[in-house]
């Protein structure tokens, strides 16, 4: 993992930790690149809407989680990992310069 990916993973871990604590009162969830949103974190699709808002607040409109997921098949969304989101955020930030 390069330094930029590490930094984005740290940001996303913070956002998810906050979301899990606010919505489910959880404060001891381990998150890494292989963590899946559905099976590991047990996030519902409405939680992903909240995450989309948190990502936009953090990175601005160039990170569009809704568009990213809208381009995927349903099964791909179910299998989505934190690592895939990290890669997408890094690419979006690069594209925006």
């Amino acid at each position: 993992m390069n330094p930029q990916e590490q930094a984005v993973l740290a940001d996303i871990t913070d956002l998810l930790t906050k979301l899990l604590e606010d919505e489910y009162g959880l404060d001891d969830v381990e998150i890494d690149m292989a963590t899946t949103f559905n099976r590991d974190l047990e996030l519902e699709s409405i939680d992903l809407v909240t995450l989309a808002g948190l990502l936009e607040e953090k990175y601005g409109r160039q990170v569009n989680f809704a568009e990213f997921l809208a381009g995927m098949e349903f099964d791909e969304i179910i299998e989505l990992t934190v690592g895939r989101l990290v890669e997408y955020v890094v690419q979006s930030l690069k594209a925006a310069g």
Binding site: S45, I46, V49, N64, A66, A70, F74
Partner: protein, 267 residues
């Protein structure tokens, strides 16, 4: 997260518009279905391409669902239509809107168009139907069956769902069982006031019906085209009730086409 207080309850609302900041060409309101559904079914499917096509896209969680408030009572169809009306008033959306509803959300959208014909530019029903005299007992029967199974042996029912439909659906079913237990929804929906065939036929705006080819609801398509003055239906082969999330590109494409035609006709 955007919360709109209608005065009756707090509704979770999300809005997407053209990303280049240009003025939207029209407003579309997306209404989701019952129990296991939320605005997320639109947020990650047809909402982004609709916004990219120049539309102002409004979606919200129905009362009791998603991140909206969960009052103990007030779950009839008219209550849901009242919420939609109050929401659009609060958002100061006064002109005609294009309404899209999935499953029960389509019944709400159609009910809104029947109540306010002047405010409906078009209605798209995805796996859905107007609140006819046969609709209420049919939906009531489905609700009773599901709730009976969950109430009598929730653990077994959820284990079965996990095996046959997957972990994700089982988690959604658990949330749905909680909503049904904590509110008067299972009693209120079948007791809803329904529309007469004349009231249904009085919805004169363009109506699109989209159905999964393997869904029982596809049998409604010919009836809908016969009753409504301006109605077209599309059956998407190989899908059941979840056609919106499973074939979002196809479903969204048909709806956009209807909206664009209706916009041209209204000019």
């Amino acid at each position: 997260m955007a919360i709109v207080d209608t005065g009756q309850l707090r509704l979770h609302v999300q809005r997407m518009g053209p990303r280049d900041g240009s003025a939207p060409t029209a407003t579309v309101v997306l209404v989701h279905g019952l129990l296991t559904d939320s605005l997320a079914s639109y947020y990650f499917t047809i909402a982004p391409p609709f916004a990219a096509a120049g539309l102002d896209v409004i979606m919200y969680d129905l009362r009791g669902h998603g991140r909206s408030g969960r009052p103990e009572s007030g779950y009839t169809l008219d209550d849901n239509i009242d919420d939609l009306e109050a929401l659009l008033d609060r958002l100061e959306v006064t002109g005609p809107v294009h309404l899209v509803g999935n499953s029960y959300g389509g019944t709400i959208a159609f009910g809104y168009a029947a109540r306010h014909p002047e405010r409906a530019a078009s209605v798209s029903l995805i796996e859905s139907e107007p609140a006819s005299a046969t609709w209420a007992p049919k939906l009531g029967g489905i609700l009773q069956r599901v709730l009976h199974q969950l109430a009598h042996n929730e653990d077994d029912a959820l284990a079965w769902i996990t095996v046959h439909r997957g972990h994700n659906t089982a988690r959604l079913a658990k949330g749905a069982a909680r909503l049904a237990r904590e509110t008067s929804l299972p009693q209120d929906i079948p007791a809803s006031r329904v529309l007469t065939e004349d009231q249904i036929a009085a919805v004169r705006c363009p109506v699109l019906g989209v159905y999964g080819g393997d869904s029982d609801l596809a049998l409604l398509a010919p009836w809908l085209e016969k009753v409504l003055p301006d109605c077209r239906t599309v059956v998407v082969p190989g899908h059941e009730h979840s056609v919106l999330v499973e074939a979002a590109g196809v479903v969204g494409g048909h709806i956009l086409e209807l909206i664009e035609k209706a916009q041209v006709a209204a000019r």
